[in-house]
Amino acid sequence: MLKNKIVSLARNDKMNKEKIIEVQNLTKQFGSFTAVNSISFDVYKGEIFGFLGANGAGKTTAMKMLIGISKPTSGEALVAGFDVKTNTEMVKRSIGYMSQKFSMYDDLTIKENITFFGGIYGLSKARIKEKTAQLVAELGLEDAIDKLVGSLPLGWKQKLSFSVALLHEPKIVFLDEPTGGVDPITRRQFWEMIYAEANKGTTIFVTTHYMDEAEYCDRVSIMVEGVIEALDTPKNLKAKYNVASMNDVFLKLARNVE
């Protein structure tokens, strides 16, 4: 227990020092439409960074640029030190990604999926074997290892996806609405996994529509119509807008863009 405490102290300490994502005037235009309009922010190592906004605010576009699958129209972004415009391969190696849409192979078993994704990430056979054992033990899925992933309950799938996104020990993991539709208990267990991972020093970049989850983030940004309208700790945001919850902060700031 004491060890945990030292780790979390160390985590706070590190957060003050090391920037892991640096974004400067990042912009994306589609024709005459500016989806992301010159956003700038930094994310620190080991931080849980909540990336919020209404549907259509530009979150997904911004995130796609940060994970190296969409080229910015202008501006800069460094992810784990690599330029998202010129060094997308290194960006992709340094990050993990989990989308709300379940993206493992339903007709492969748990073990086969882990082996497959481990191979994609370039892990050696020995390392994959080691990682597989560790992962199923942590999730308590030892007895289910040869079960088809498609037959698992949604909550297990989500936890498994998260672990697989971390297989290559990325510095940053991007989670795009990881808890949509999941039952309330599993949703909280999932966040406990996120906390544990952040405590190891992994940076978590997460989007969610559950405003109670926004409260669990170290800092939260709220995007409105392509710009970052607010960025601070949940505590400071609530104080600034003089409201009781992040839900109220969101309702005050976010408008619908259609």
């Binding site: 539709g181 999941v182 039952d183 863009v257 259609e258």
Partner: protein, 298 residues
């Protein structure tokens, strides 16, 4: 009664999806099926909209039997499935016209019913449905489900993946439809939306755990929940879980919800324990239970 469900069961390849479910929805009622993915909500919707046959049990919708009178039901209900199922290649207006024609009516005839919603998407009526944003798709789908003036409206997770602002607006629209006398059966995985329904059924793993008014469900919950907060939330969760008499520990936004298994629990003892664990800025106070608390304890 607008909807009557009596001991309905359905399994797929021997896997039970819903197990002997019964409930009734009154005329003009806004009734919520509240539960996570995989609870069986969609199966119930598909049986009631006559798209799926139950293995056992019986059900009526608007007075019609779901098996014998399936054609009459299809004419008198509106159904908005969880998955967007309009024609992506047709424009907004073409989709609406299509559904109106199928049901032997016109947009003009029932315009009054959809007006509030349709004016929000009307500026985009020549846009293909596939190119709409999530919020607009949802509004179009609702218009299409309403265009033949149904007496019962089925909405399967209309707000899943929708941001809090749009969700709030959507529920305002539902209330207005209810005022026009339409019975609404709506499902949602968002527990905070439960409070907006007249009555709810809490459903998990194919069974209904409870049916009542949201306020009654909360009032009937007898355990005392404490809001707890300290500087280091993650460590607080771990330490609370290690407290010998803990019954449950769950993060609830800014606070941790803590329930103790002892009736004579004294919060001061817990305060002392947390101080011993080096926690700072400790806050402990009695909390107001929510539907989510009740659901998690069922």
């Amino acid at each position: 009664m607008s909807i009557q469900v009596h001991n309905i069961s359905k399994s797929y390849n021997k896997i039970s999806a819903i197990d002997s479910i019964s409930f009734e929805v009154k005329e003009g009622e806004l009734f919520g099926l509240i539960g996570p993915d995989g609870a069986g909500k969609t199966t119930i919707f598909r049986i009631l909209t006559t798209l799926l046959l139950a293995n056992e049990g019986s059900a009526t919708v608007a007075g019609f039997d779901v098996v014998l009178d399936y054609k009459a039901i299809r004419n008198s209900v509106g159904y908005m499935p969880g998955k967007f199922s309009l024609y992506q290649d047709l424009t907004v207006e073409e989709n609406l016209n299509f559904f109106a024609t199928i049901f032997g009516t016109t947009i003009e005839e029932n315009y009054n019913l959809i007006k509030d919603i349709y004016i929000q998407i009307e500026p985009f009526k020549t846009r293909r449905a596939g190119a709409l944003s999530g919020g607009m798709k949802q509004k179009l789908a609702l218009c299409c489900a309403l265009i033949h003036k149904p007496t019962v409206l089925f909405l399967d997770e209309p707000t899943t993946g929708v941001d809090p602002v749009s969700r709030k607006e959507f529920w305002i629209m539902l209330k207005r439809l209810q005022e026009k006398g339409i019975t609404i059966l709506v499902s949602t995985p968002y527990m905070d939306e439960a409070a907006l329904c007249d009555r709810i059924a809490l459903i998990q793993k194919g069974s209904i755990l409870k049916i009542d008014k949201p306020a009654t469900i909360i009032k009937d919950y007898k355990k005392i929940i404490y809001d707890i907060k300290a500087k280091n939330t993650h460590q607080l969760i771990q330490d609370l879980k290690n407290y010998p008499s803990q019954y449950s520990v769950f993060a609830f936004g800014e606070y941790i919800h803590y329930i103790d298994e002892n009736d004579n629990f004294n919060p001061m003892d817990l305060q002392n324990y947390l101080e011993q664990q080096q926690h700072t800025e400790i806050e402990i106070r009695v909390s107001n239970p929510t539907i989510e608390d009740v659901f998690m304890d069922l």
